[in-house]
Amino acid sequence: MTAPVLDVQGLTVRLPARADRVNAVENVSFAVTPGEIVCVVGESGSGKSVTAHAVMGLLPARQLTVAAGRILLEGDDLLTKTPAEMRHIRGARIGMIFQEPMTALNPVMRVGDQIAEVLDIHTKLSERERRQRVLDVMASVHLPEPERMIDVYPHQLSGGQRQRIMIAAALVLDPVLLIADEPTTALDVATQAQILKLMKELRERRNTGVLFITHDFGVVAEIAHRVVVMQHGRVVEQGATQDVLRRPRDEYTRTLIRAVPSLSPPARASVADAPVVLETKHLMMTYKAGGFFEKRREVKAANDVNLCVRRGEMLGVVGESGSGKSTVARCIARLIVPSDGAILIEGADVAKLGTRALRPHRKRVQIVFQDPYRSLNPRRSVGDAITEGPVNFGMNAGEAVARARNLMRLVGLDPDALARFPHQFSGGQRQRICIARALAMDPEILVADEPVSALDVSVQAQVLELIDDVRKRFNLAVLFITHDLRVAAQVCDRIVVMHKGEVVEEGTTAAVFAAPQHAYTKALFDSAPGRNFEFGKFDQE
């Protein structure tokens, strides 16, 4: 085995006093050899990002301090370096890529100049040589037409192209180590697949060691050579990818891997005979964009969308960001007024009803949102949130509280917690509260707009189970919006695939997953990370 490019030994990072634990990371050791991709996996709060930041020497000063350990870059201890020396090492010997490609790039600077900036700081190349190096590196990350792209601004690029620019900037000086902190989390699956492919290819070509931080086991299965699993700031398990995924030794690793939803849908009882509760007919949502300086143009966020959901059925609406799936959800919940078409709730068209006429229909459709941190008012107690709806519709306060207590029990929370405020709950618990709030209205239709996308994988599984459970218990028609094929495979009876505002494919989950018809659906399925890997099938079992 060759000498490791990065060797982290017994790293301990202390949290400030009065935090929920003493150390952010404790006694963490692992190594990255040249040409190797090491994935650090863990849920939020596991200390994986803190580890990456410690290696980069970018821990927030005075808040997080390294208490013990060594971080060796090619045998050089980074912890003994002065800030000035670290500045020289970052960029030249360690390249970095972050999660959000939009905020990591300066919006008022041409992308070529941003890549050249690295060269400007670390080398003494002439203007012409610099430009050539930038063009070369842009070509190597497969950016189309580098000659043209070098002079554009970040907002003119797509998310995937921006991330390529970030990678180009990270690689322009041929660093020995590349640190990628959730680099594909903010990207669509298709783009994610391309970026992962690019990283694999670059590693082969340049023999760079890659430290890849992620929460997604699909990504791990796709690119990692070795895996480091972290929990509560400690390394619970590490080893070769196949070993860890197939033969996990630690119970926590097993739980994590088992929680990854499978891409093969389980058998589900048919609800084809149940009455249709929700139907959209030729639903259109058109936004007018541009104006002033640009030419006015129309954006069809939803174009001729026809859906139908039966009682007790979970209909998955799958698509990438910008596909119009959320627009459809918001139209159905009547948070926005559709431009055209009909929304039939048990035969009654609510698409164009005014505030007053709509009111009786309000309680029949309830919605659960993606972001559990923003979907509850931070200044009102959980009890107030859950009882708000029923009280609006004339229920007396005592009765509403009694119902809220029952619902809290139903979603697996302590009924006595009603007096508490949202910040006292975790993300998963807040999502449970949101489900309870929706159920308090006794709805017939539940719209779930990416309800588990912001949650850790183990919590995600529990919340999915809860949603499926309330569907059965209350015989709800559920419209489940998601970008995650794995999630859709597990909980949906039928699936609708949306692309650019239009429905491109529709069918039972089993049929769509077994034999996707539309070219877009096929492409979407092909880009799902770890699609060839069956999670949770351990060798000893």
Binding site: A19, S44, G45, S49, V50, A333, R334, L335, R359, R362, K363, V365, Q366, I367, F369, Q370, D371, Y373, R374, S375, L376, N377, P378, R379, R380, A385, E388, G389, N392, F393, F421, P422, H423, C434, R437, M441
Partner: protein
């Protein structure tokens, strides 16, 4: 990584808790609060603070330097400067607080309507732009000269130019809050507009408004002094720092203290209120505090 998303919720809980760390972290804020408290007590108990009658003329004691009888000396009519400075605190505080309360209340109401009702937004904001285009002091002078000098007129005249800034602030908060999923959830739960505004939008405006109120208060006290100095403010029979300075202006070369004492009191008060406002902002808006 700590869970930063939970931070805004703790604002209310910690505003009045943990005084000791607050005093250690913001010593100037605590000093400012004490100064303001002293001024408030002085205004409330003015007759007990070894003062005489603020309007009592004493021709024999004209332009006397500070002494045991007149702590801050006396002015050109022999009135006690100490007494008048202490009584002047009343005018400043009344004007500052009244203007802050009035402009915040009116601005809050108008701002919420403008932010939430699209139809009103354009009209209301153009009117506000119009009011903002006129310099505040000029507008106040015009209003006072139209309706005659009295404390109430002065308060109204200072309040009007302050309103647009509050409206803009409230509207900006409303525009961000109305996009929050919890507001959409409330709409989906059939909550009516007035309730949405009171339950969900108003509480989110409060921190910003408390901070704004301190700035309005300080600027109102200053404007009152300016108006009085220009002779368009409180009538001469009410001692205020502004008209004390105006009257003492002519005697500045021989008795600078006549201007000095009310001037120093005004500067100290406004500084204290502004420092308190900065402290509250740091406390109520953690995002901004961290940036500093």
């Amino acid at each position: 990584m700590t869970e930063s998303a939970g931070a805004p919720a703790e604002i209310g809980a910690t505003l009045f808790g943990h005084w000791r760390p607050l005093a250690a972290r913001y010593p100037f804020v605590v000093v400012a609060a004490i100064i303001i408290l002293v001024f408030v007590l002085a205004a409330a108990f003015a007759p007990l603070l070894w003062t005489t009658e603020p309007l009592a003329l004493n021709p024999l004691q004209r332009l006397k330097p500070p002494s045991a009888l007149n702590w801050f000396g006396s002015d050109q009519f022999g009135r006690d400067v100490w007494t008048r400075t202490v009584y002047g605190t009343r005018v400043s505080l009344i004007v500052g607080i009244a203007v802050a309360v009035l402009s915040i209340s009116i601005g809050l109401f108008v701002g919420m309507l403008a932010g939430y009702i699209r139809l009103l937004d354009g009209i209301v904001m153009r009117v506000m732009d119009g009011v903002m285009a006129i310099p505040g002091v000029l507008l106040a002078i015009a209003l006072v000269s139209l309706s005659g000098a009295s404390l109430v007129t002065v308060i109204i005249a200072i309040t009007v130019p302050e309103i647009p800034r509050v409206v803009r602030l409230v509207r900006a908060v409303v525009l961000t809050v109305r996009e929050e999923p919890y507001v959409e959830a409330a709409i989906a739960a059939g909550t009516r507009l007035p309730q949405i505004l009171i339950r969900h939008v108003l509480p989110n405006c409060v921190p910003a408004l408390i901070v704004q109120a301190t700035y309005v208060c300080a600027s109102a006290m200053l404007t009152e002094a300016i108006l009085s100095f220009l002779g368009a403010g409180t009538p001469p029979e009410i001692p205020s720092w502004g008209n004390m300075m105006a009257e003492g202006r002519a005697f500045f070369p021989i008795a600078p203290r006549i201007i000095l004492f009310p001037g120093a009191a005004l500067a100290l008060m406004i500084l204290a209120v502004n420092v308190l406002g900065d402290g509250l902002r740091d406390r109520l808006d953690p995002k901004l505090a961290r940036r500093v």
